[in-house]
Amino acid sequence: MDMIKLTIDNREVEVPKGTTILKAAQGMGIDIPTLCHFELNNLGVHNKPGGCRICVVEVAGRRNLAPACVTECMPDMVVRTNSMRVINARRTVLELILSDHPADCLQCAKNGNCELQDLAVRFGIRKNPFIGPEHEQSSYQLEVSPSIIRDMNKCVMCRRCETMCNDMQTVGALSAIERGFPAVVSTAFNQHLDHSPCTFCGQCVAVCPVGALTEVDHTGAVLRAIVDPKKTTVVQVAPAVRVAIGEEFGMEPGTIATGKLTAALKALGFDYVFDTDWSADLTIMEEGTELIGRLTKFLEGDKNVPLPILTSCCPAWVNFFEHQFPELRHLPSTAKSPQGMFGAIAKSYFAEKINCKREDMISVSVMPCLAKKYEVGRDELKVNGNPDVDYSISTRELARLIKMANIDFKSLPDAEFDSPLGESTGAAVIFGTTGGVIEAAVRTAYEIFTKKPLPKIDFEELRGLEGVRSATIDVDGLKLNIGIAHGLGNARKLLEDIKAGKSNFHAIEIMACPGGCIDGAGQPLHHGNADIIKARWEAIYRADREMPIRKSHENPSIQAIYKEYLGEPCGHKSHELLHTHYFDRQTTVEVDLNK
C-alpha cells in the first residue's frame, strides 16, 4: 500500500494513501470534532456529506479551511487542527447551528445523549451572538407517529437519517426537502410518516445526532400500569436487549446481563417477568413446521408452493414488503413475530392459567426495536380492540425506568425468569442477530425433517455481518439453499431476484436493521462506534453456547404448551393464536371514475 507522510499539529505521521485527515488525526490521538460524519464500516453505512463544517482544519497553502472528514491526506501536507483561525471558525459554525436549534435541552429526549449538546459543552458556548430579537428559527410542526417523534426544528441537516432511509434501507420515506434555510430532512410534502412508506425500522432515530428524531416514550404508561393494583403486569424481554442494556449502566459492550435484567424488571414491580426467547422457540416450531410443510409439498412436485419462505419476525421488514413488494406477500411465513406470539399466549393461555381477565392484564414488551411499537398497534394483534401487547418499550426506555426507580443495575444479584413463559434455548437467543432465526430454524427443521440428530449445532456458514449471505445446508442429502439479508436495501436485492425468477433459495431470513436486532433502533446509541455492534454480536453467540438446551423443539416448556394447549404446530389453535396475514399497503394512483 502506498504510504503518505504528512504533518498534523507539528507531528509527522505516515498513513496509507486515501486516508482522510480525520482518520489520520484520530490515529494520532487528535480528536477533531465532527457532527454530520457517520460511518459503520463493517455494516456498509457511510454518511459523508461534508456539510456541517465542524471538522474544518487549516491546511498550509490552501485558501480556505478544509473539512477533515472528506479531505484526503496528501504528501507533505501540513495540517493544523487547533489554530486560532480553526477554533474561531469551528466555534462560529457551532454558534450558527445552535442559533437555529431550539434551546430546550432540558426537556429534550436526547438531553445528555446529544452530539450537538456535547459540542456545545466542549466549546463552552454560553451566549450566542446570533440569537437576538430579529433572528429567525425553523418552524416545523412536531409530529408523533406510532414509533417515532419528528421535531424538524432540531434537524441539523447531517443527512444521516436520509442516508439510512435511502442508501441502507431503500425505504425512501425521507429526503432532504426545500433548500436554503428551511431545508430539512423530511417526508414527501412534509406529510405524516403514516402516509409514507416508512417501516418504522427507526434506523433514522438510531443515527440522529440530536433530538430531531426520537422514539415515542411509553415509560410513564408502563409505570402507571405497574402501580395500578387492579392490573396484572406481564413483561417479556427480547433476546438482543440482554447483550446491550449493560451499556446504559457503564458496563462493557458485549456484557450478557440477562440475570441483572431479570432482577431489575422484578425490582421495578412487574408481576411476571418472562422472556421473548420463550416465544422465539415457539416461533421456530411454527415457522419451522411451515418450512417443512412447504418443502415437502415442493419435493412432492407441487410447483405452486410459495417458495422461498421468508421469515416474518421483524415488523419493519413486514412493513417493508407490505409497502414495496405487496405482490410477494404470499411468500413470508404467516407466523407472528415472537413479540406477537408471546402477547397472544400471555393473554390467552397464561391469563387463563392465572385466572386473570384479558382486560386486567397489561402486557409489556422490552424490545431493541421501534417498529415493535408500531406492531403492537396492528389490528391483527388485537382481540376485540384489546392489544396482545399493550406497550412496547425500547432498551433505552427500560434503562430510564430502572434509573428512575433508583435501581443500581450493576450491583443487582442475578435473577431467573418466571415460569412457564421464561424457559428458552440457545436457538432463541440468536434471534437477536442476523442469521440467527434461520440457524435456529435449521436446527429444528433438520431434526424434525430427517428425524435424525444434528451432527453439529453451530452453523458457522450462516453467521457473519456481510449484508447478503447465502449457504447451502445439507439436510441429510437434501440441499437446502438459504439466503440471509440484513438491512432492507440488501433485502431488496433478494426480493428483486425473486421477482425476476432468478432466486434459487428455499428459505430467506431478513432483518431490517443492519446487524439484526443487536443494532435495533431501540438499543443504546452507539454514536457510530461499530465495535459496540461487533461486541453485541459476539455476545449473542456466547449466550447461545452457554445455554444448556440449544434447539427450540427441545424446550420442555414449549413441548408442554403444545401438549396441553396448542396441539400441533401449525394446527388449528396455533393458526388462531400464532399466525397472521399481510396487506397490500403500496400507495397507488388510480383513475377517479366519479369525476
Binding site: G50, G51, R53, P67, E136, M157, A176, F181, A183
Partner: protein, 597 residues
Amino acid sequence: MANYKYHILLCGGTGCTASESPKIKENFIQLLAEKNLTDDVQVVATGCFGFCEKGPIVKILPDNTFYTQVKPEDCREIIDEHIIKGRKVQRLLYENPEDQKHISDSKHMGFYKKQMRIALRNCGFIDPENIDEYIARDGYKALATVLEQNDPKATIDIIKKSGLRGRGGAGFPTGLKWELCAKNAADQKYIICNADEGDPGAFMDRSILEGDPHSIIEAMAIGGFCIGATIGLVYIRAEYPLAIHRLQVAINQAREYGLLGKNIFGTDFDFDIILRYGAGAFVCGEETALIHSMEGLRGEPTFKPPFPAVEGYLKKPSNVNNVETYANIPVIINKGWEWFSSIGTEKSKGTKVFALAGQINNVGLIEVPMGITLREVIYEIGGGIKGGKKFKAVQTGGPSGGCLTEKFLDTPIDYDNLVAAGSMMGSGGMIVMDETSCMVSVAKFYLDFTVEESCGKCSPCRIGNKRLCEILDKITKGQGTMEDLDRLRNLAHVIKDTALCGLGQTSPNPVLSTIDNFWDEYVAHVVDKKCPAGQCKALKQYIIDPEKCKGCTACARNCPVGAIKGTVKMPHEINQELCIKCGTCMEKCKFNAISIK
C-alpha cells in the same frame, strides 16, 4: 437565390423581442411585399447587438446604418426613405450625448468604439436560425481543421497556449481542464456546457446562445474530440425559451448537415448534443451541483475531489465549461493561439463579455479586451452615469463579487486584479451605482439572493448567510450596533473560510467589500441612524413643509395609519412614531409640501 441589395438586420434578442422586435420584422416583410421589394431586401432577425438601452435596434446594410429605439410604426418611413430613396431617417439615428449630433454608423458610437467582439462575433450579424450564415462566417471550419489534423493533444495545446480561462467566474485555465479530463480513460465521457446563467443581471450566455448557437455546438464538438467524449450536454435555464429554441434549431440543422452525428467530416468521430433543463437554482452554476441536477437530483454540490474530470456526470469523466468560454474556442483554432494571446493582460487573455447595467446611460451587453479599465467601460462605453449623477460604485461578479469604488476605476480589468480588489470576474455582471444607492442595502440585496439560493447543505451557508442578512437588515432599520459590525465581519470571514462550495465561499464578498470600501456609510447607519443615500425606508423621515402645506387634508385622509394630524387650511404634521413610511402622503400631496429627510 435572391440577390439582395439591402439587408435589414434587426435584433431578435430577448430584450428587443420584449420591445416588439418581432412586430417590426413582420411590418418590414409586409411593407417590402407591398413595394415589391421582397427579392431585393433581406430581413434578418439576428442575435443581440448589445446596445439594449437603445433597443430595438435595426441595422441597414450595405451602408451600415444603425437605427435605435425603432417602433413598429417606424418601418414604413425606413422603407420609404432609406431603402427606396436612400435617405437615412435622421430621427432614428443614435444621438451622441456629447454634441447631440446624429451618428449613423455604429463604429463611430462610443458604445462600440472600445469594444472587441470575439465571443459575440456573430451576434447581431447573422441569422442564428440559419446554419448557412454561420458557415459563411467560417463556421465549422475549426472543427473540420481539428478533425482533419486528428491530434487532440495538439488542439488542447493550442487552447492551453492561447491562455483562455473559464469565463464562468473562477477563471480556471480551459486547456488544462481539457487535458485533465482527456487523461482519464473511460468507456464514456461527457462534455458539458453550463448555460444555467443564474447571476441576476447577467445575460451574456443567453445572448450568445440566442445570437450564435452554432459556435457553441462547434466548440463542444471540438472539446468532445479533444477529451474523448461523444456526447455533449447543454444544461440550460428553462427560463430561456428563446435560447432553447435557437439551440434546438441549430442542433437539428447541424445534424442535417452531418456536423453532428456519426462520422463527422468523414472521420470516425461521432458526436451529438442533448439538452438538459435547469429549474431555477443559482447553485447549479457550480459544476458538481450542475451534474447532480442533470442526473435528476437536488442540485447540491459535493466536495471536490473527486473532480468532474475524474468522476462527473453518471460517474464518468466530464468536462464543464460555460457558454462564453466555448464561444471563444472556434476563433482560437481559426486565428491561432498567438493572435488570441496577444489580446489582454499577462494572465488574462482575450476578451470578456459584460452585462453593463444599473445607473448608467448605455445599458447593454459589451465585449472588451481584458485589461481595459473600469473607467473606459463606464464612461466611454457606458456613456457615464445616468442623469449626470455622481459615480459611487461598480459591482462586478454578481452575488459572489464585490463593490469597487472610484479608486479602482483605473485598474485594468482581469481575473487577478478584480480578486485583489476584493471582487471577482464572475460571469460578467457589471452594475453601476450612483450616489443614490445605499451600500448597506446593496449588500443586503445580494445576501437576500444568496439566502434564497443557498442549497442548504452546509451550515455556514445555510444558517450563516441568513444571519448575515438579519444583521444587515437590523442595520438598515437603524437598530444596528458597533458590535454588529464586528459580528458581521467575523461571520463573513468564517463563511468564506468554511462553506462547502464556491457559492457559499464567495457569498460574503458583497458584505466584506462594502464594509471595506464604505465603512463610513455603515457607521452612519449604526451611530447616526442615518442612511446617507436616503434609501433605507426605516431611516427616512417624511416631513411636511409648513410653508408649502395648504391644509388640504389629502395626506391625512389617505394616511393608512392615521399618523398625520392637522386642521383644515392649516399646515399638517406627521407623527414620526406612527409613520410607517409608506409614502402615500407624498404621492397624494398636490403642493409638493412633503419631502424625505
